[in-house]
Symmetry: C2
Subunit: 152 residues, 2 copies
């Protein structure tokens, strides 16, 4: 236990790096999004991401991607449609499903979010070389493979 006692800089555990990095990232993006007064919360942002990046996106795609309960996603999607950010169209593949896409205003939102994220990414990358970034991605990718049981 005493080896974890000193919580400063280079004696942080791997766990702490992983969790701190994401926490700080989230704190920064939340502050940026709130400061932009876009009226978005974290779930909105994540959902916009999934839909923007998933061809023929259904509610079930979002459920799987975000690892969330289908009830929650149904409500989220319903809210975002009501706000005019999303549109839905019948799926030709499956009558139970609707294909979700970003509306024009949803796309504008997504672009604003991307700019904010790019700003934070630039902050994160300050002082790091391209090799550092490539190494980080390679190592983090391996870690992810390991954590997801190499099924990724």
């Amino acid at each position: 236990m005493s080896t974890n006692f000193i919580n400063k800089g280079s004696n942080m555990t791997l766990r702490e790096y992983i969790l701190s990095l994401s926490q700080f990232y989230r704190v920064n993006i939340r502050a940026a999004v709130n400061a932009s007064e876009l009226g978005l919360n974290g779930m909105h942002v994540r959902c916009l991401h999934v839909i923007a990046n998933t061809p023929d996106c259904t509610a079930n795609c979002i459920v799987k991607n975000m690892g969330r309960d289908k009830a929650q996603i149904a409500r989220l999607v319903k809210e975002m449609i009501a706000k005019g950010w999303l549109e839905k169209h019948p799926s030709s593949e499956d009558k139970r499903s609707q294909i979700l896409s970003l509306s024009a205003s949803g796309r504008q939102l997504q672009q604003k979010i991307s700019l904010l994220e790019k700003t934070i990414e630039n902050t994160i990358l300050t002082g790091l070389s391209e090799q550092d970034v490539a190494d980080f991605q390679r190592i983090a990718g391996k870690m992810l493979d390991n954590l997801s049981g190499s099924v990724s």
Copy 2:
């Protein structure tokens, strides 16, 4: 936007690596803790960590470390004291504060958690060299410094 379209392996964005890694970590540790039937939720685990690693730990230390509301922490601490995991003693520095520490059963819990975390860490590290790990820590540390405004 289309450069973020392909979400497979080496074309993931930095954001995605950071958030995915922590999400998978959390999914894994939650499953392990639940499987161990310790009766702990995520906040319990985090609180045990903070107290185990903070000399003369007060509620306020936990608030600052976890970035949470003092009302929430007060309730959490009260609950954990009621469960017998924590003990409190008057602070000699400040009569408003109590010094929190792990009880014997709290320490047992913390040790069980550490074992689970070590198991997951070993999973994460499979196939990575010591140099990889050192690089990851160096790079992640730099990223954290960048994100926390170099005040860390």
